[in-house]
Subunit: 251 residues, 2 copies
């Protein structure tokens, strides 16, 4: 049974999608069979692996709001071991549509368990909020990977997220745990970055990944080519960071 992991943080722009895409790709080239689930209506993770949200291809919206078979929403990508359930604009409306659905927090979990044994890892990219979509991911997942920008506002939001994870663990998903906190966009030249790293390591020590992802422009260029950075420029500092994270996770 594959490990289901969600990449979540309600603070915007901290590197959730960049982490989901590049970690998924790094695991895939390390001979792991990986399924990435794009749960963000912005569909950035889908674009990051070159899958444009053409209307008519089923994805996470259909998975949550209809009785479509899970396998019918799975698409291949350029990487052999990496599959994707894409997102689209219609997912924006899902939050409101699902409020009345029975057992609305379990919809994603019930859909993913049907295919979990075909994969070693299932990675879910979450939108920047603690709404029903992220809640579905926290219920479906065994662990949460928390990307955290080395910035002050990102530090402020960490408490709120850990509070929400504990509540989900108590009420909906007792097995939920934190996979780790990943420091992203680290810029060694500025004090703020170093202060945030020191602060997070002090408070969360063992839960913080040893791998720290540097600020690296190749990571932000790669999506415009529809490729993960580890394919677009494998020798870049950003790609090397994510390859290191995959090694650290595989142990």
């Amino acid at each position: 049974m594959g490990k289901i992991l969600c990449v979540a943080n309600q603070k915007g722009g901290v590197g959730k999608t960049t982490t989901a895409v590049n970690l998924a790709a790094s695991l895939a080239i390390s001979d792991q069979r990986v399924l990435m689930v794009d749960l963000d209506p912005q569909a950035n993770a889908s674009a990051g692996v070159g899958v444009r949200g053409q209307d008519g291809i089923p994805g996470t919206y259909e998975l949550l709001t209809s009785s479509i078979e899970t396998v019918k929403t799975i698409h291949t990508t350029e990487l052999e071991n990496l599959h994707l359930i894409p997102s689209g604009r219609d997912l924006v409306g899902a939050q409101v549509e699902l409020v009345q659905a029975p057992r609305r927090e379990y919809l994603l979990k019930n859909a993913l368990v049907k295919v979990a044994d075909r994969y070693d890892y299932i990675l879910i990219d979450c939108p920047p909020s603690l709404g029903l979509l992220t809640l579905n991911a926290l219920v479906a997942a065994q662990t949460v990977l928390i990307p955290m920008q080395c910035e002050y506002y990102a530090l402020e939001g960490l408490g709120q997220l850990l509070h929400t994870i504990q509540r989900v663990k108590r009420k909906l998903n007792p097995g939920l745990d934190v996979e780790g906190i990943l420091l992203t966009m680290f810029d060694g030249r500025n004090n703020l970055s170093r202060q945030v790293v020191a602060e997070v390591s002090k408070h969360f020590g063992p839960k913080v990944f040893k791998t720290i992802i540097p600020r690296n422009v190749r990571l932000s260029e790669a999506p415009s080519h529809g490729q993960p950075a580890i394919i677009y420029d494998p020798r870049s500092a950003g790609a090397q960071g994510y390859l290191g994270l995959a090694k650290e996770m595989l142990g």
Copy 2:
């Protein structure tokens, strides 16, 4: 009657809060009476002007979910001409609580018109989503200021946002217009920044502010001191950017 302007973009981390805080402060020191409304449960805009969300002080949550008088939610800040309606953690639950409320999209508008004549500008900082909170801001506002990071994913999200603004204009707020698109975190050393500026200017020409905000670490340090950058370090490139934006808006 003060001009009500919301700072919105569902893409996370593009500089919404940094823009709301520094533009509000720049207008306040240019002798404009300004009210900033923090509509994001993360309460970053509140922290950015030094107002910590202690439990017990009423703010946007009470404004939307109870019959509290609007003036009772207004707090002063270090700057004489800048007032704030703060946010807090309880706002996370508001999205779900309000789904059943009658005329749920007009709650903020009805609350703000009661105090609009006391201010020259009312600036609303929005969370990174197109949910009920942002919808309330789009209905209450006369114009939308759209901060846009000079990055590929931010460019992708612009279409979805403009689509939503048109829908709100048609169905709920016929007077709604785009105040302008503000390019943020511009880094002249990298190609991607220049490409995004060229692309946005080509497609949206007259709607793009001439002022471009550079990437500047003083902007991200200021919130840890609870001050806008124009107070924390007025001569920094970031602060100068926002002072220039205020001048451009005041004409």
